[in-house]
Symmetry: C2
Subunit: 530 residues, 2 copies
């Protein structure tokens, strides 16, 4: 894929760097590197251990072929597997060897892997500016912590989806930063709500510094399973541009974006695509709309290969990459040489087409899992399109779940279902909203003027589910910490009389998912009294 | 080795935690873990990708036998090599498998490896308190950055050896912290100077918070190659106890501590020892004297196996480990699963005795390299014991280097040699002090009242060396940044009319080292005019 020559360069966004990032300096030792290349030079300056004293003689890793179709549990035979070999010393100059990858290396990361990823990013994510750069990191958790230390000052406000991944709060809450939740709809983060938050900022937060960072998981959002279509990302980008916001695009699920969902009694088995078909339909990332270099994309192999490699990469403008590199030099040096070498060899062996085929098939596997879980819900509840049956229930989108045995013809448009969900458009999670006013116990808590009846009821429901041997993640875990104290549902201005659970469809097999959903429905039937 | 039952427990040192460390919270998702063990439970709560979708089928790593003697460049044949195999799924329950090590894991790190290291630490480093704990990390660079975020506040002062590893300044200089240099002698950091700095603090730094952290590389110090004997460590520990200082013991070279050095024309080849002999003579670490739990030891496999694994471990009291764990959960999760699995299998395969034998032989290899470099100096200069020939030259210790051809009988005790060095007692570096008053150009700079003649001369000498095709690391790189601006030699109160270069003996072969030293002496002879 050729890139039009007229792509602009990134603009200067260095005013976003915090004082720590500005104060970082290059190691003076690196200055000497320039002299090392001189012919005949003997350097006694470095401090490298001698590779002949590394005890590792050769590594061989057997891997699946790129076109392995794993969705039915049939694993490739040993004959079909490929072997990645990393010898102690390179047989030809430039080939990967253990002596190099086990040595101290440049903090940008293994050059062969960076080059591969640069091409992949250009071909698949197509940033709208020309001079983006790649820096390897140790997974998106480490990457986000590095970005916090790049951009945030103590006490800053950060924009996030109204429900977000709790570990992402970890780096900034202890620094005294505060989250600003932005509402979502079925297409993810709402550009209009982002505009509202920012345009009203001086009124709602007089004297407080306006947020300068948006943290978002645009595809397969955790916990909500939502994916932002292209025009939504473009609209969000333009709001961010207007208010000079840096977008941190956390993208572990970008390549796990699913096709449309239909309510069916039996799970639909996804139709395989070629890697090229997959590439064309990929939901992509904010990079595609980023003509100024204001997106810092965090990409990772945790969901596409395996989390244990602790390996991923930043895509960002050269100024941010340079400052992240300075931090990397003194905070982590490089990701593991084992991880970089094995992943690099795997990607070079598969090739870009092969990796796209792998991603396409992987997506199918998770899409099938989504379909299994959704079909299990449709089997236990009466599942109907919300826009048709619950059109007058505020905020009810996607699929509405009514008590088993409900005759659709009897449903009134303003009658709250037991629950509803937007079918996951990517990722690993189903986010189910329960409508609590149908549950006698919830009404009891309301009548008793409990200070947070939603939270109390959902806590009781979580316990009832655990007692019925099914574990879900409480929606409260994903509430953005907007202030130092705990806020009640009404204090947060959150939607009243609803509560959420996150259901993961990534790990369990079909039998477990179906039995788990059966147990959930069993508890719901008791609590909703049907 | 049995541990006496009467070892005390760590005292409560939680008042040293900074506000960020105190504010860290456990991920709420972890609460659910307690419920997962219940029989029959179906958990849809986790967010794990499915391991059947990891493309890694098996890893085989060929390694050297533990008793490989590599100092003469003879590498073990393929027949002698061992193979570490990590299958996709464990053949027996509890065995290491790729599905587990490539999955998200507990942030403490791989349990088998932690257990091995706990036993190793107990048997080899023998902490003087009972309840020390182990937390894996991504190498000592990452570990020190984590400790800075655990203990330091912006603007704090940190105690360090007067010359220290420049990358260790990286995490705290941008935070506005300042270093406090503590003088060294031939046995490393001086306890009496530490006592002086701390006892005079209120006078020398009125109104400023006293330092609470000592960062030290007690064995094979970088750059000075010094190792602290046991009684020196005990004395330093007691001063730290008196002033309530936390000792950060950066220990990558702890197992590379050498035997006594003798000046010989030919390099002495070290005599091999058994692992058990090695263990008994090991210089150990501050842990051995730590009966309160005020030492945070940073250990690493970078120098003992290979740097590319980016793997090491903290040894510290339970309160610090718990807070470091909270940080690890949101800043890095775990080290690479590849690194943890391969190193763990290697250590379990070798066993403790085997690893000690490996370390002993490795130490011999680096000790031989030290001897080669020192013999090369003795060949090019006239090398004589400083205590005998330069007894009246202030600060001249170890080996004094005089111009070639010098007749020892003519040397006066107050006559400065060209250079001197304390023979490295461990690690990878030789730290050579040059006596500049013998160099005409230096006297010229002094006469011209240059603001920093030492620094100017050493810069010119570095350039002359580079022009003569030998690279050394300038001593100025290792000067502790004690204030925000650049200070001259006299402003720093540093020893006048001397300058240092660091010579690494870890990487080059004998021919290169000897030729490099020849080139150094050639430049010295010109600059000193002999």
């Amino acid at each position: 894929m050729t890139v039009p020559l007229e792509l602009p360069k990134a603009i200067d966004l260095s005013h976003h760097l915090n004082s720590i990032a500005r104060n970082r300096f290059a190691s003076p030792l690196k200055d000497i590197l320039n002299y090392m290349a001189q012919p005949g030079m003997i350097s006694l300056a470095g401090g490298l251990p001698h590779p002949s004293l590394f005890p590792f003689a050769e590594a061989n890793v057997s891997v699946y072929p790129a076109n392995a179709d794993l969705k039915h549990g049939v694993v490739p035979s040993v004959d079909e597997q490929l072997t990645l070999t990393i010898p102690k010393t390179a047989p030809v100059k430039g080939a990967l060897d253990l002596n190099s990858v086990q040595q101290y290396g440049h903090s940008l990361g293994l050059p062969e892997l960076r080059a591969w990823l640069h091409q992949f990013t250009r071909d698949v994510f197509s940033p709208a500016y020309s001079n983006f750069e790649i820096l390897l990191h140790e997974g998106n958790t480490a990457a986000w912590a590095k970005v916090c230390r790049l951009l945030l000052d103590a006490g800053d406000y950060i924009l996030l989806e109204e429900f977000s991944f709790p570990s992402s709060f970890g780096p900034w809450v202890p620094e005294g930063c505060k989250g600003v939740p932005v509402k979502m709809d079925a297409h993810g983060l709402r550009a209009d709500d982002l505009e509202r938050v920012l345009s009203e900022w001086e009124t709602t937060h007089p004297g407080e510094r306006r947020p300068r960072v948006l943290y978002t998981i645009p595809q397969g959002q955790n916990p909500a399973g939502l994916s932002m279509p292209g025009d939504r990302m473009r609209d969000v980008y333009e709001v961010c541009r207007k208010y000079d916001i840096i977008i941190v695009d956390d993208g572990p699920y970008s390549c796990l974006t699913f096709r449309e969902f239909e309510i069916t009694p039996e799970p639909v088995v996804p139709v395989a695509e070629t890697g090229e078909q997959f590439r064309k339909t990929l939901a992509t990332s904010f990079l595609k709309y980023d003509y100024e270099g204001r997106v810092i994309r965090l990409d990772s192999f945790s969901k596409t290969l395996a989390p244990g490699s602790r390996l991923g990469y930043f895509v960002a403008n050269p100024i941010f990459i340079e400052r992240l590199l300075r931090a990397t030099e003194v905070e982590s040096q490089t990701p593991s040489g084992w991880s970089m070498a094995i992943v690099s060899q795997l990607l070079h062996t598969w090739g870009q087409d092969g990796y796209l085929q792998w991603l396409s098939n992987l997506r199918d596997s998770y899409e099938l899992r989504r379909n299994i879980m959704c079909a299990a819900l449709a089997k236990r509840f009466v599942a109907l399109p919300a826009d048709k049956y619950a059109s007058a229930v505020p905020g009810c989108e996607g699929v509405a779940l009514y008590p088993r045995g409900t005759d659709p013809a009897t449903i009134k448009p303003d009658q709250a279902p037991v629950a509803s969900f937007v079918p996951p458009a990517g990722g690993m999670f189903l986010w189910i909203k329960f409508y609590l006013s149908g549950a006698p116990r919830f009404r009891e808590l309301q009548t008793a003027q409990h200070e947070d009846p939603e939270n109390a009821f959902m806590g009781e429901m979580w316990k009832a589910l655990a007692d019925n041997l099914v574990l879900l993640t409480p929606g409260s875990y994903y509430v953005v910490p907007a202030s130092s104290g705990k806020a009640t549902t009404s204090q947060r201005g959150a939607e009243p009389a609803v509560g959420h659970f996150r259901f993961a469809f990534s790990y369990n097999d079909r039998v477990e998912m179906e039995e788990g959903i059966r147990r959930v429905e069993e508890v719901a039937s008791k609590l909703w009294g049907y």
